[in-house]
Every structure is written in structure tokens, then in C-alpha cells.
């Protein structure tokens, strides 16, 4: 693994962001809109629901965490799509870089892009709604870690689809997270789901992450077993994502699609 090359791949995307004010605004805009939207929704619940009267910020905290997952995944996909859109794909894949270096670079740059958007939004939520995601304390990092891994995994699966099916898979990139959101139990407890879906949902790290977030905010206790479970599940999915990515790459080499990707 050559970190200088990983840095070079990241640099390409940092330049892309820093060269364009609209891109920076776009990165900040959506998380901020989410904060506003969910801030008002949770305010409404606070005023009109007994359940939420003692848990101001649960929904907003969930929205911030979910947005982190969303940003990581979309950033990963976007950076890959940028190479296809700019017809730079061939140049990249004939450079002396390993696939592991490409994955590492996309993974590291994705968090940078996600944080550019998320940090201002999370800070903005403090004066506007009196909600600070940072109140979760150190466990916040343990919740963000599996979210990050799972976001990258979703990115790997979508980019594998792009390698396998070409740019026509692009629409799936945008829709990928919405498929999982209902099963993720982001804004409601798992008991809301029908029993059969609960079994499916427990196979995703999201349920364990958001259940634990609610547990911390409601009961002020941390269940490290749930946190370890969510991290473990995320690692399994991540490894699976890497295997699928490699397999798609080898398949693309067999089909010869790497040479004309984007045309």
C-alpha cells in the first residue's frame, strides 16, 4: 500500500471540491436542509407528544447520524462517478495503482466530503434547536464508526454495480440508501416493524446503531454489547463489499468494459 498514491487520488477530489464553490455549497446545503426539516418536525413532536416531550433532539440526532451515513455513501459513489463522467476512467485504471489503494483513497476521501457537509450542520443545530449531537459524548465515535463502515460498504456495492453494469447503474447510486431506510429503524423503535421485517432488520447494523443512540439519549446509559454488535456486523458487510468490488473489477476486465467506461 503506497500512501503517496492514496494521497494523490484523494488530492484529485480535494482539488475538485476546492475549485468549485457550488460543490462546497452543495455539500453543506443538503445536511443543513435536513437539519432544518427534522428540527421543525421534532419541535412539533416536542410540543404535541408526551413520548417525545422528554427526548428533545432524538429525531434530530437520528437525522444527523443518518445523514452522516448518507453523505459517506453518496460521496464514495460520487467520486467514482466523477471518473466516469469526466472520461478519466481509463487513465486511472492504467496508472500503477492497486485496487486496494483506490478503495482506501475513496474511503478516506468520502469521510472528508461527509464531514465538510455535516460539521457545519451539526453546529448549526445547537443554537437553532438546542440540540447537540456532541452530547452523546465518546459513544458518538462508536456510533459513527459502524455508520462510516456501512456507508462505505454501500458505496462499494454501488460502484461494483457501476463496474458490472456501466453508467446505467447510476440511478441505483442515488436510490440505494432509500431502499434500506425503512428497515434501518432510524426514527422509530424496531418494534414498529412487522415481525418478519424485524428479523431482516436485525441483520443490518443500522438498527443496532439507532437503537443504541435512543438508549443513550433516553436512559443515559451505554450498552457496549450493542455497539460491538453493530461494529461487527458492519465489518462483515464491509469485507463482503470489498470482495464484491474485486469480483466486479475482474469481471469488467473479462468483459473489456474498463476501456470504454463512460462512452
Amino acid at each position: 500500500m503506497n500512501f503517496s498514491k492514496i494521497y494523490a487520488l484523494g488530492l484529485r477530489h480535494i482539488y475538485l471540491i476546492s475549485n468549485s464553490l457550488p460543490r462546497i455549497i452543495d455539500l453543506i446545503y443538503w445536511p443543513t436542509v435536513q437539519i432544518f426539516l427534522w428540527g421543525f418536525i421534532s419541535k412539533f413532536f416536542t410540543l404535541s407528544s408526551d413520548y417525545y416531550s422528554n427526548t428533545v433532539g432524538i429525531i434530530l440526532t437520528a437525522a444527523i447520524l443518518y445523514d452522516f451515513l448518507f453523505r459517506v455513501s453518496i460521496s464514495f459513489n460520487m467520486m467514482f462517478l466523477e471518473e466516469i463522467w469526466s472520461r478519466n476512467f481509463t487513465n486511472l485504471f492504467i496508472a500503477p495503482i492497486r485496487i486496494s489503494e483506490i478503495i482506501t483513497s475513496l474511503t478516506l476521501t468520502a469521510i472528508l466530503r461527509a464531514l465538510i457537509g455535516l460539521v457545519p450542520a451539526a453546529i448549526l443545530a445547537i443554537p437553532l434547536f438546542g440540540v447537540s449531537v456532541f452530547k452523546l459524548g465518546l459513544p458518538l465515535l462508536f456510533l459513527l464508526l459502524p455508520l462510516y463502515l456501512f456507508g462505505v460498504t454501500l458505496g462499494l456495492l454501488v460502484t461494483s454495480g457501476l463496474l458490472r453494469f456501466g453508467p446505467s447503474f447510476e440511478n441505483i447510486a442515488w436510490a440505494s440508501l432509500f431502499f434500506l431506510a425503512p428497515l434501518g429503524c432510524i426514527y422509530y423503535p424496531i418494534e414498529i416493524l412487522p415481525y418478519s421485517l424485524q428479523i431482516l432488520a436485525k441483520g443490518l447494523p443500522l438498527v443496532h446503531i439507532f437503537e443504541e443512540m435512543r438508549n443513550i439519549l433516553l436512559n443515559n446509559t451505554v450498552n457496549y454489547f450493542d455497539i460491538i454488535k453493530s461494529i461487527s456486523i458492519s465489518i462483515v458487510y464491509f469485507i463482503l463489499g470489498v470482495i464484491i468490488f474485486y469480483s466486479s473489477y475482474l469481471g469488467a476486465k473479462q468483459r473489456g468494459t474498463l476501456i470504454n467506461m463512460g462512452e
Binding site: 494523490a8 469526466s86 487513465n91 492504467i94 468483459r255 473489456g256
Partner: protein, 244 residues
């Protein structure tokens, strides 16, 4: 032999794109790869770049098998230029060269970028975004990227396609000059027969995935009783019988 291609084939589903081709290129020679559209030139180049997995056969570069040897070690010594692929449009010329210089592990990168930029006369639009450049300017930037690592092997796919005669001539002259000053082995795929005659030491003619003839330009022109390479190309491309 610096580059050896042995029994190389590629089948896409049931379509035989390249059919057991064999050729070699000696170090510091320029070989032209000619043939009508769809004859297997791009697929062959794709296999040499490690972008396409051969169905059969071997590509040996400096005694190292491209398939079994660590791909990044060989690719660090190769580069490729084609008007059909582009550099990121939103990055400036300098940023693109910096990114690719780093990817190729170029030492003294700033100096190398300056050197190649002066040679190719691209310094005056260094800070402009690549997407804003004219075809001729983009072409020179693309060539600069392909030479950033001082490659030992340079694969060129129609390097002067869509360029006006003046810039086309500039690029051809530059390649000639570069080859004279540097140790570089070139495989040039082109449909411009004047360009091939001017740049290549020998040529390989492909048709329907097979090599149908090879030799120096003069040898092939003489063999087929034509006046120039253009006429010879037309004869071979239109002939029903494949010659070898």
C-alpha cells in the same frame, strides 16, 4: 525482445475480437498497429495496458509476464495517450499533471511538470481548467500526462485524430524529437498513413482480429505493388483473402 505478444486472443461472449496474434517489439523502436475499425487494435492495446483480460496467450514486457507479474510495477513503466479518453475537466492543467505525476511516483515532480510543459508549450494555460481547453490544447495536455513518468513504453491510440494540420504536425514532430532524446518503445495505432510512414520503424497490419501482414513501410508497399501506405492499406483492408 522488449515486448513479446504470444498467441494472444480475446473472445467477448461469442465474438472473437483478437485471434492468436504474435508479434514482438524491440527496445526503442516504434511500431505502427494498423487496420480497419473493429479489427482488434483497441482490444490488443487494452490487453497490453492490463485493462482487458486475455482469453488466451501472453504479454511479456522486459521478461515479465503482464498477467502474472505485479501489475503496478509494470504499469509504472508504461503510459498511454488517446483522444478518446480525457483528464478530469474541472481540474486545472497543473493539478491534473500533479495528480498523475504522484500516481506514477515521479521524483522531482515540480521540475518534471515544468520541463514537460515547456516542451509541449502548455505553460501559458497551466491554470485553466482542462475542460475549458480547445481540442489541440487538450491533446497536448494528454500527451504531457502520458509522458509525465518518462515511460519506457508508450502506447498511442490515434494521437493526432481530430487535430488541425498545424497542431497535428507539432505533435508528430514532438514525438519524433522525444523519441530521439529518450529511450522509449512506442506502439502507435493510427489511421493516418502519413503519420505512420513518418514515425514508425515497422508496421503490423490487422484485420478481423488477425495479423495479416508486417514489415517496414517500404517492404509492405513494395510487396503489394502500391505507391504509398494509404493505397496499401486500402488494398489490404478491402481484400477478401488474408495475407501473411
Amino acid at each position: 525482445m522488449f515486448i513479446q505478444v504470444k498467441n494472444l486472443s480475446k473472445v467477448f461472449k461469442k465474438n472473437l475480437a483478437v485471434d492468436k496474434i504474435n508479434f514482438h517489439i524491440e527496445k526503442n523502436k516504434t511500431v505502427g498497429l494498423l487496420g480497419p475499425n473493429g479489427c482488434g487494435k483497441t482490444t490488443s492495446i487494452g490487453m497490453m495496458l492490463g485493462l482487458i483480460e486475455p482469453s488466451e496467450g501472453e504479454i511479456i514486457i522486459d521478461n515479465k509476464n503482464l498477467v502474472s507479474f505485479k501489475r503496478d510495477d509494470i504499469l509504472a513503466r508504461i503510459n498511454f495517450c488517446s483522444p478518446y479518453i480525457e483528464l478530469p475537466k474541472k481540474l486545472t492543467v497543473k493539478q491534473n499533471l500533479e495528480v498523475y505525476g504522484r500516481l506514477y511516483g515521479v521524483k522531482n515532480l515540480s521540475e518534471r511538470i515544468l520541463e514537460i510543459s515547456e516542451d509541449l508549450d502548455i505553460k501559458n494555460f497551466f491554470k485553466r481548467k482542462t475542460g475549458e481547453l480547445s481540442s489541440g490544447q487538450k491533446n497536448r495536455v494528454s500527451l504531457a500526462k502520458s509522458l509525465i513518468n518518462k515511460p519506457e513504453i508508450l502506447l498511442l491510440d490515434e494521437p493526432t485524430a481530430s487535430l488541425d494540420p498545424d497542431i497535428g504536425d507539432f505533435v508528430r514532430s514532438y514525438i519524433q524529437e522525444y523519441r530521439a532524446k529518450n529511450q522509449v518503445t512506442i506502439l502507435l495505432a493510427s489511421h493516418n498513413m502519413n503519420e505512420v510512414e513518418r514515425l514508425c520503424d515497422s508496421i503490423i497490419m490487422m484485420k478481423k482480429g488477425k495479423i495479416i501482414d508486417r514489415g517496414t513501410c517500404n517492404e509492405i508497399i513494395k510487396k503489394h505493388g502500391r505507391n504509398n501506405l494509404e493505397e496499401t492499406f486500402l488494398k489490404l483492408a478491402r481484400s477478401r483473402d488474408e495475407l501473411q
